[in-house]
Assembly symmetry: none
Homo-oligomer: 159 residues x 2
């Protein structure tokens, strides 16, 4: 929050990594997907692709991935849920590189996880990026449009 009466200098102390917006890109037969140019710089330090929680994929910056793996390591191995979570994240994860055109290669098994075929929706979700099949994303949007449930949830945020 900003100090009252204080004006932020024009030299923008820009917001740390924030992925915003949604983009529909094609996925070629080789499984290559162009990542929106606006997202690339933030990922240039290294990018990790893993299975998401909702029939989608998550593309993480190196620091985000490290933060997650750190937390997972601290959790008790004796807890079955912990072991499942580790399998979900690590077994399905892969470090990805960009080619000159800003594309990443999505491994076959990850494409299957998210039912990706010829097109994909790339969604900025703050700290991370999600990759959806158009159909699954559409279903997700429809669910979110359910105004009734939304107003309940929104109230938590006091917007």
């Amino acid at each position: 929050m900003q100090t009252p009466g204080f004006r932020r200098p024009a030299v923008n102390a820009k917001l740390e990594h924030m992925f915003l917006g949604q983009y529909r890109h094609t996925l070629d037969e080789k499984g290559r997907l162009t990542i929106p140019a606006r997202f690339r710089e933030e990922l240039s330090g290294g990018a990790y692709l893993t299975q998401g929680f909702d029939h989608n994929l998550r593309l993480l910056t190196e620091s985000s991935f490290e933060a997650i793996s750190g937390k997972l390591s601290q959790m008790k191995t004796t807890d079955p849920t912990t072991r499942d979570l580790r399998r979900l994240i690590f077994a399905a994860a892969s470090q990805v590189d960009f080619d000159q055109a800003g594309r990443i290669l999505i491994p076959q098994f990850l494409r299957e996880v998210a039912s990706l075929e010829s097109d994909a929706v790339i969604v900025g979700v703050g700290e991370t990026i999600e990759i959806w099949s158009p159909g699954a994303w559409e279903a997700q949007v429809m669910r979110l449009r359910d105004v009734e449930s939304n107003s309940e949830r929104f109230s938590e945020l006091e917007l």
Copy 2:
């Protein structure tokens, strides 16, 4: 948001963070919209465009947006509601820049959200700015003119 009970020093003649009035501007084929000159200075530190609650768009200052995104980031990713909420806000948001003429580019998917075509109504609503399609705004105005229902609804507010 302002600290409760804190009064801005009198040195500042005009009120800050106060967007007032309504303007009807054109939206060209490229999706560019001129923001009223009176609103620009306040947004010069960075502006964010997001989906509104009533079939419209909201244009926020950087600090307003930071307040929202800060709350979202603190929530647990493993909670499904958190993930939904983030998608609702972040996926439907976009950081926007001004060109030399004081225009912003409204991404295609956000134009669709608010049914924006060749014209838009830009409304100052105190802390934030709303962008409406002329039709939706007209309907909104009609509803507010319904004095009967208003007197009921607002009577509880002790203004």
